[in-house]
Subunit: 430 residues, 4 copies
Amino acid sequence: MAIEQHRDWLVSLRRDLHRRPEPAWREFYTTARIVEELRDLPVDEILIGREMLDSDQRLGVPDDAELDTWFEQAHEYDVDEEVLDQLRGGHTGAMAVLNRGDGPTIGLRVDIDGLPQEESSASDHHPASEGFRSTHDDHMHACGHDGHTAIGLGVIQAIADSDFQGTLKVFFQPAEEIVGGGKAVAEGGHLDDLDAFLAIHLGLDHPTGEIVAGVDGFLAVSHFDAEFTGEPGHAGGHPEQGRNAVQAMATAVQNLYAIPRHNDGATRVNAGKVGGGTASNIIPEAAFIEGEVRGETTELMEYTHEKAINVIESAAEMHECEVSITGGGEAPSARSDEAAVEQVAQAAERTAGVRSIVRRDDLGGSEDATYLMQRVQDHGGVAGFVGIGTDHPGGHHTSTFDVDEDSISIGVEVLTDAIQRLATETQAAD
Amino acid sequence: MAIEQHRDWLVSLRRDLHRRPEPAWREFYTTARIVEELRDLPVDEILIGREMLDSDQRLGVPDDAELDTWFEQAHEYDVDEEVLDQLRGGHTGAMAVLNRGDGPTIGLRVDIDGLPQEESSASDHHPASEGFRSTHDDHMHACGHDGHTAIGLGVIQAIADSDFQGTLKVFFQPAEEIVGGGKAVAEGGHLDDLDAFLAIHLGLDHPTGEIVAGVDGFLAVSHFDAEFTGEPGHAGGHPEQGRNAVQAMATAVQNLYAIPRHNDGATRVNAGKVGGGTASNIIPEAAFIEGEVRGETTELMEYTHEKAINVIESAAEMHECEVSITGGGEAPSARSDEAAVEQVAQAAERTAGVRSIVRRDDLGGSEDATYLMQRVQDHGGVAGFVGIGTDHPGGHHTSTFDVDEDSISIGVEVLTDAIQRLATETQAAD
Amino acid sequence: MAIEQHRDWLVSLRRDLHRRPEPAWREFYTTARIVEELRDLPVDEILIGREMLDSDQRLGVPDDAELDTWFEQAHEYDVDEEVLDQLRGGHTGAMAVLNRGDGPTIGLRVDIDGLPQEESSASDHHPASEGFRSTHDDHMHACGHDGHTAIGLGVIQAIADSDFQGTLKVFFQPAEEIVGGGKAVAEGGHLDDLDAFLAIHLGLDHPTGEIVAGVDGFLAVSHFDAEFTGEPGHAGGHPEQGRNAVQAMATAVQNLYAIPRHNDGATRVNAGKVGGGTASNIIPEAAFIEGEVRGETTELMEYTHEKAINVIESAAEMHECEVSITGGGEAPSARSDEAAVEQVAQAAERTAGVRSIVRRDDLGGSEDATYLMQRVQDHGGVAGFVGIGTDHPGGHHTSTFDVDEDSISIGVEVLTDAIQRLATETQAAD
Amino acid sequence: MAIEQHRDWLVSLRRDLHRRPEPAWREFYTTARIVEELRDLPVDEILIGREMLDSDQRLGVPDDAELDTWFEQAHEYDVDEEVLDQLRGGHTGAMAVLNRGDGPTIGLRVDIDGLPQEESSASDHHPASEGFRSTHDDHMHACGHDGHTAIGLGVIQAIADSDFQGTLKVFFQPAEEIVGGGKAVAEGGHLDDLDAFLAIHLGLDHPTGEIVAGVDGFLAVSHFDAEFTGEPGHAGGHPEQGRNAVQAMATAVQNLYAIPRHNDGATRVNAGKVGGGTASNIIPEAAFIEGEVRGETTELMEYTHEKAINVIESAAEMHECEVSITGGGEAPSARSDEAAVEQVAQAAERTAGVRSIVRRDDLGGSEDATYLMQRVQDHGGVAGFVGIGTDHPGGHHTSTFDVDEDSISIGVEVLTDAIQRLATETQAAD
């Protein structure tokens, strides 16, 4: 494919996905669209949903009503119904295999889900002015996974066009935003034969033209859902009869953020979504917190998690409520191998649009690609996480986030070269 | 109408309304159903929505999307479309006028709205076992307004069948639960010529067979909506960049309940409905509190209101958020006139099912019937609020609240007699 | 004694006591000074400390170090050392018996302790401008007990000068401010033979010249001391190693004030004195709350008390601290007998300086005179609590509180007449 | 001096200081004792208090009453009254100058103050079993400054006994625990001619026999005192009249600990000492927080400080209180120069008792030696901070902290050698 044509295809694809962001485990249209693209590519094998991941290991799957709403919406789009039906129940995600003769097996993972964040409609917000702003209320691609998906597809085409020898597996992973999909993909069994593996992320405060050859400093993370149950009552007539679940929740929130910091490294807490009560004149019977804790290491995450559970349980007790706490998504920490960093750096040096290379940088966030990296490393493979700079006007997870579309082609080029180098290197090492 | 038949009609009507509870300003089906019943009664005039109340004085009207959802639901029921169309936009409520020759004008007010409370499906919950449990998710008649509506209609029939001389006006008021409708009805102009006026409530911890001739002790009340706005951010990567609206909200909740009590009398605060944030890994950008304050007097309510506003504004400032506070429903305090209490007590003494009469009792809650009572009293009329005992298994505003249907007929009988007595009394007084 | 001379004596006495306020169970100088005055009066018996109350029933006695500090200070004043030695260990208080032939036994109780409140030194604060401001740092008579004591002594003199027939017992009770002395006096055994009993209070927002014949509405009260124990740690180096007792305390304070109000009547909570920690760079190992709960009835007080205990224990648990909660002073509710109210009202009508009489009024505070009232009532006697109006510039318990000294003589006169009337009445009733 | 004798002298001196710990700016006995020892040493100049530091730059000096209490206590010990009188008013600290011919000027700083922490009396706590437990109630040397002082004196003796050429200045700095003395010493003018400078600390979780040649990772720190002022009131009678300073303080404490973490590095907050109110039945009029914030960089400290001020001010506003916030001690961050690290490491290698050498390690706490290090570095000198391992059973700032006395001699030896090496090095460099 000609470079210009290739670029147009990826930009148009990215914009289509941008228009229809779907959150974790609800990537029905997205997956179907990916499969459609894969069918047009010289791919040897396409695996869908259950075929590529261990469905029992999915974390944070929403309830059926929620899944159905998004499933039905996807049905209204012009996509292959048969593919859609395979995804029913939140079995999203896909994977492509490209066989190019004898040689090492290299993996690439891109994530595909959007976020529950309303998109800006300001005239200086590019997706708004160019007409590809999200059409899904209160949801948007605010973290660039639309671009990741485009890069994944672009790399397949470029590798197919190259003289790469070996096997390439590209994983289109669902549910990264809730760190819910990584474990399931890692346990899916398709990573165990990889000689080398790369995962990617756009942006991360690096400008277009900058490549981070090795992203490290992943925070281990654990999500939790706490449901408080008290007793309702008439707020005017019998304030003494209720057991106020919102008071319990508010006490928990205040004390969650006040969990002591730790000398061994960074920790994080967030009560990211909360709610409770039904009407201003009823003492709130129910309330909830959807939150998360993180740590620079898995131990630090667990330290914070333990404190969080105690805070929540004590807050419930204080207001004579019950509380049920269930776990959500989770991810460990991980570190890019030097061998991967080296090949990416060399590839970046050769790439036209790259103006600066950062050898290693800390993410300071979480990513469940760490599950995949660990899996590959545990099986003797080499793993790395690559940052692809992109000028983004707003921060990640905010309404004005956007991707500089020039960075998509840069990403494709760097990764295509790095994958070939890794194949050559690991071949030589045998 | 024969007593037995009358009773069956009211019970069946009440159960129909119970099945389809509609919250404040969304009583579309309810109003249409009332109008339908009125058309079968020997009524001289029927006023609907805007005709009976001052629409500009409605408090706490929900947004259009919310109104539409309920409006469309009502459309799916078998009701007069023309009536429905008059109600569009939350102009609910109705009023009936019965002219029976020369004589005083007497008013009766019943309220018609339900609550956002899920109904029990336990086998010992009568509406569940008898098959008339709410079919509207998360909503129920948890305060007996279905029974009030039935009583209002029953009284019209009974007065029509009596030798009452004068005019009877029955007000089917919307939005009492959010104290949002009383002011609009009071300002509607149809109360100013009343010589006497009664409002009613079932239950209030009084058993079937007990009548409270004069309910007093209404708490003045004021609702408020606080919307906190901060800034989102990546909870893992940049905890320092957000401005956390949920922290502001939680701090406000904790301190709202801690507003100092007052020596002059009872005060109340409730953060009845709260929420905030979008996902566990995003620092919450927005949060809200729908709350209320009450006081034994209007001054005590205002004392608490002022403190509440200060708490909310300071909590926002503490977490560098903005907050916008808007008012919702409101109601003053009021007191039943002795003349009304006396006639109701005498009527109760004559009524077969009445086993005990409480002359006066304190409500300890709020009611926007107080607007109507004040309006009548200000124009020289006599006003009273009548409690009609009913055995209710669960408390008001809880999932197991129910009405003993025997109390409906008792209520009709007591009120019918009381209205005739008030007519005779006020006539004599002229 | 001539009226003018009598007045001068009481004012000068009151000012002397005002200069040397002593808090609960530390009224060493105060008691010794009272005994000195009693020895100059025609009194038949003087009982001191242990002789007049049941020492084992004292509530809220401070620790030895604290008692010693005040004891030693009293030693530096010019008082009878022998009397002082009887008081050592916090066995304060005194009682006088006046036998005037056959007749009923009438009791009068005045309280004698000061408060830990710094006194105003403003030039418009009468004690400051007249030179009798408190000389005890951070302590003052901010509730008029100096005036009460003067009234008690004045009544003895006046009754001795009258033709009263019977026995008068005047109780100078310690530790009212912490509701710590009432129970011990009630259990002391000297109330059981009383035919009638009066207790008094100056002020209570009533002006000079106004008498409240029966004060009611005493809030039941219970004090508590909570001691939180965590673990210290280096706040900079190891924030994760401590268990922060100040966080536990602050969480408790916030939630104590937020205990739900009760529909049955007034409740109160106060975290009146708190503290914790040792230095800004050490994680606080210890913290405390000295607080109280009150209720319009004993049940309401107990409702609030139970909630408070749960809040405190849960707050400790939330921050992994231990907590030990001990009880302090306590008092029940009580009501003045109509017979006492009647005699006081009649006496007030006859008193020159009285310009207005309130038959009954609610205190809205607490008083452990209720223990004495209950004791007398339980033994068949008549009990009443009398309010003696006094213009007070600042509120009770604030730095600018002061007593209009004219009200002292009015109090003496009303009580002297009321005691004689009660003697006559109860005599007649036998 | 023979090694054995030298050791006994230092241990006995350290134990004497351990018995009489004095907190910041109250090191009256300690300073006098140091001066006494210096007079027995071959020292050329002794500077006391004001002579060695800029008194106007002292931070966190306590009030006069507090200073007097400790000053009078010191007077009761057997020390030179004339020296003591120089220290009156909190002008503590001393400095020794040793001139040994031409050569570079080298500085050593040791800190001398104790902590407000009660010392353990457990039988396995060495100072308790050996009879040198603190005799000052609620205070102890819980951070090893008694050992630091001994080392400082030991080094003077050892350098005097060596063939060192140049000038040695040893600074016995007060008020390190409140980071209150460093700035004053730095501004005292005696550091500006130093060619090299070392500061030291015992312990820091390193065992006896381990030397940290360069301690880094000092957290910048800033102390603050917040005084809340509300209005008192009778907690039972008029809960609405007070403005509750303890509620303001508790709200501030909860939200201080909940200040968002920062992605750029570690931050700390501690509300280390708090208090408020006077009695359980008075609404608290006053309350305070003595706290601190820290950051891995000065910017991070300032970020946290700004948030803390906003939290405190908003909490005051929320409860209608005033608040006055004053600054206390402060210290910047700093980093050991490689040249200093190198010489210390070489010295450690030659020292008999040293079993392991850590070249650089992070403190994770704060130290106002950073002021001195910065001053020296700004004037072209070389600065380093040396960790001297010591087995300590309890953590720093806890009741069971103790120093392994063997580490004192090790420290003396390493430092003496390092000082000589630094002299030679800097001489050579000229």
